[in-house]
């Protein structure tokens, strides 16, 4: 912490929760979660390169309830970070800063991330049903 105790600006506990701050916080949180998720990416690719036994272990982990829970969380994190990332790129171009637009786009991203996640998992379970 800083050596001098200067007054701080109001923080999370002071403000009323609103979509503007939630989307920002979630972008960071999902980014951190996805960075952690790269561990599974590395493990899965190394397993795929090394042989069927290692790959079967990764598959078994992914099919376990903790694996499914993590994969579901990472799916939503990716969907959210992707859509909110597009929103950020548009904001970098100077678009969508009017309060009404900002709030609307925030909800669009949240709703879109849920739709994308549902779409992916419908594909997952439809394939399993068909196989």
């Amino acid at each position: 912490m800083p050596a001098t105790a200067r007054p701080l600006s109001p923080h999370l506990s002071i403000y009323r929760w609103q979509i503007q701050m939630v989307t920002s916080i979630l972008h960071r949180a999902t980014g951190i979660a996805l960075a952690a998720g790269t561990i599974l990416l590395v493990v899965a690719l190394l397993a795929l390169a090394s042989g069927p036994e290692a790959y079967a272990k990764v598959q078994a982990f992914c099919a376990s309830w903790i694996g499914l829970l993590l994969l579901f969380g990472w799916t939503w994190s990716l969907a959210y970070h992707l859509l909110n990332g597009i929103r950020h790129l548009l904001q970098d171009a100077g678009l969508g800063y009017l309060p009404a637009q900002f709030v609307r786009n925030g909800w669009l991203v949240v709703a879109g991330s849920l739709v994308l996640t549902a779409l992916v998992w419908v594909c997952v379970f439809a394939q399993r049903g068909g196989a």
Binding site: G31, A35, T38, L41, L45, A49, L82, G85, R128
Partner: protein, 127 residues
């Protein structure tokens, strides 16, 4: 007000290094790449999910998929390093811990990327 620098900064030669926007630009560049690559990645994983080992390996071994997977790996780990760097800059205020974390993040992201890339290359070359 033609010069915003203090006289001391001028005397010490501590001006702009002309790289102030580099982090910003690379973060966005990798983001645009990941926009496409992550959708392709999810699509590819969905295709390999319920197949067996040989099918998954054959899928990644296809030249088109192997190249995109390498691009995905580079963009993911680069983007992750840049993002985690900002999180540590914002929230970790103990200097030694901040430096240690920044170094650890860079090392881990490079190792993760290198290991993944080697795996894809082994698969693509059939070794």
């Amino acid at each position: 007000m033609s010069n915003l620098r203090t006289p001391l900064k001028n005397a010490l030669g501590l001006g702009s290094a002309k790289q102030g926007a580099h982090h910003f630009i690379v973060q966005r560049l990798t983001a645009v790449a990941l926009l496409f690559l992550s959708l392709w990645f999810v699509w590819t994983v969905l295709g390999a999910l319920h197949g067996d080992y040989a099918a998954a390996r054959a899928l990644v071994a296809q030249p088109f998929n192997a190249v995109l997977m390498l691009a995905f790996i580079v963009a993911v780990f680069w983007h992750a390093q840049l993002g985690l760097q900002v999180v540590v800059e914002d929230y970790v205020h103990t200097r030694w811990l901040e430096v240690a974390l920044q170094i650890a993040i860079k090392f881990l992201c490079f190792l993760g990327g290198a290991a993944s890339a080697l795996a894809v290359i082994r698969i693509a070359l059939g070794r």
